[in-house]
């Protein structure tokens, strides 16, 4: 395993910088060697740009990986979509010489080359594999008394053939990591269902996209969860800002605070909600966290 470069993607640095802050605080606290990935672009989004033009999707994704290769670091993603794009691109480039040759031809035009020397990791997968659940639990100084609705997000685990994390119907690794903070992962109906944002549906068909999100809000509320915890900023945006949009659309009000796993872990390591930008979410976490943390 190499040291890491953090691939932030679009939504973390450009909309939810609290997740960027939390990620960096947590990695520092754990003594993990990380660096910014200077000059990175959009991953680009797997269900959107890959479907528009695969060669362009692959070229842009490969450029991001090549930036990390040049630093001799593995790529650490904090987003399911970025992970989907970059790990799929890395896999295809390493295993399809014809495709790699064609893509490197484009990269040569900007004096870059893909060499296939770096891995692409997702932060949840990285923590589970490299630190382990007990390793995470050992770092918790402020156990959290929270009931959490865990939202895996689709592209963390699917397509399973490419991801290789086992069951996609009832996975447990993310729940285990959440519970390592002292929180309880509550089961809820249609837990593995999509948030509705992916594949360009949120951008082009917002109304329908929100129907899918509201389905989750209803089930999570019924289960009595205090907060939603995700591992994908696009799901995070859909589940946080989506509650505001649903209210505007049909008047139904939900008030479930949404945290990225890095923010949950940062709280459990003693950081305050303000340190990690939880007060910058659309759904304010104030009362729930003050009572529970």
């Amino acid at each position: 395993m190499k040291n890491l470069s953090i691939f932030l993607g679009c939504i973390v640095p450009n909309r939810y910088p609290g997740i960027e802050k939390a990620t960096k605080l947590v990695l520092d606290k754990l003594g993990i060697d990380w660096s910014d990935l200077n000059g990175a672009s959009c991953c680009p989004a797997p269900g959107v740009f890959r479907s528009f033009d695969k060669a362009s999707w692959l070229a842009l994704a490969t450029r991001n990986i090549a930036l990390s290769e040049a630093m001799d670091r593995d790529v650490l993603t904090v987003c399911n979509g970025c992970y989907g794009s970059l790990s799929d691109a890395n896999h295809e480039m390493k295993n399809d010489p014809k495709l790699a040759k064609a893509t490197n031809k484009h990269l040569a035009g900007i004096d870059m080359e893909f060499k296939g020397t770096s891995d692409v990791r997702h932060i949840v997968e990285f923590f589970y594999e490299e630190l382990g659940v007990e390793g995470v639990r050992d770092k918790v100084t402020q156990p959290l008394d929270l009931k959490v609705a865990v939202h895996y997000g689709c592209h963390l685990i699917k397509p399973s053939k490419e991801r290789g994390f086992g069951s996609v119907e009832k996975p447990t690794f993310f729940d285990e990591l959440v519970e390592a903070t002292g929180a309880t992962s509550v089961d809820y109906a249609d837990k593995m269902a999509c948030c509705g944002a992916g594949g360009g549906v949120r951008s082009a068909l917002l109304d329908k996209s929100l129907d899918m999100a509201e389905h989750k809000f209803k089930k999570i509320t019924e289960a009595g969860a205090d907060v939603i915890v995700n591992a994908c900023p696009f799901c995070h945006l859909q589940l946080d800002y989506g509650q505001i949009e649903v209210k505007e659309k049909n008047g139904n009000e939900y008030a479930i605070p949404v945290l990225h796993y890095m923010q949950l872990l940062a709280l459990a390591m003693g950081y305050s909600p303000e340190d990690i930008g939880l007060d910058m979410n659309f759904i304010k976490a104030g009362n729930i966290l003050e009572a529970k943390v």
């Binding site: 362009s56 070229a59 992916g198």
Partner: protein, 162 residues
């Protein structure tokens, strides 16, 4: 234009083995709220109907549940993405998707930085601009050059500006 059935076979999708069981449609989170009927898309493609102009093509969130559950192992989502690619090549694209593509071409990000986020970054003690293309103009030039080289800029341009 290549027929949809041939197109998908050429891409390696074995849609002829579909037994129309409907597991895909029954598993689809989008289909509960939209007109998306995955089983019907596969059937239409197999019968060489005009699936490229089918609005349902754009209602898939790419959650992969249908693909995971397909008893025939058909890569349904990947096939839908393949049909989208062919649609885009034929100039069929939702205006919002064209816009977000143009955003990547001009800014390097589908969701670029804005003033509100800069304020939040500063409050958190982060750098005003993140370490992505926003901070490195030469990196943005590379992205533009790359997307020019792959033909994306031309592909995404409005019909009348081509």
């Amino acid at each position: 234009m290549t027929k949809p059935s041939q197109l998908l076979e050429d891409m390696g999708f074995s849609i002829q083995t579909c037994m129309q069981c409907g597991t895909c449609t029954g598993s689809c989170p989008s289909g509960t709220y939209t007109s998306l009927n995955t089983r019907r898309i596969v059937q239409s493609a197999r019968r060489d109907k005009d699936v490229l102009n089918d609005d349902d093509l754009w209602m898939c969130t790419t959650c992969y549940t249908c693909q995971e559950r397909c008893p025939r192992g058909i890569k349904i989502v990947d096939a839908i993405l393949g049909l989208r690619t062919e649609a885009v090549r034929n100039g069929i694209m939702l205006p919002e998707h064209r816009k977000v593509s143009q955003m990547v071409i001009s800014k390097g990000h589908a969701v670029p930085i804005n003033d509100d986020s800069i304020t939040k970054r500063l409050q958190l003690g982060l750098d005003e601009l993140p370490a992505n293309v926003h901070k490195f103009p030469e990196a943005l030039e590379q992205v533009k050059k790359l997307l020019e080289s792959t033909g994306f800029v031309e592909l995404i341009a409005e019909e009348d500006s081509k």
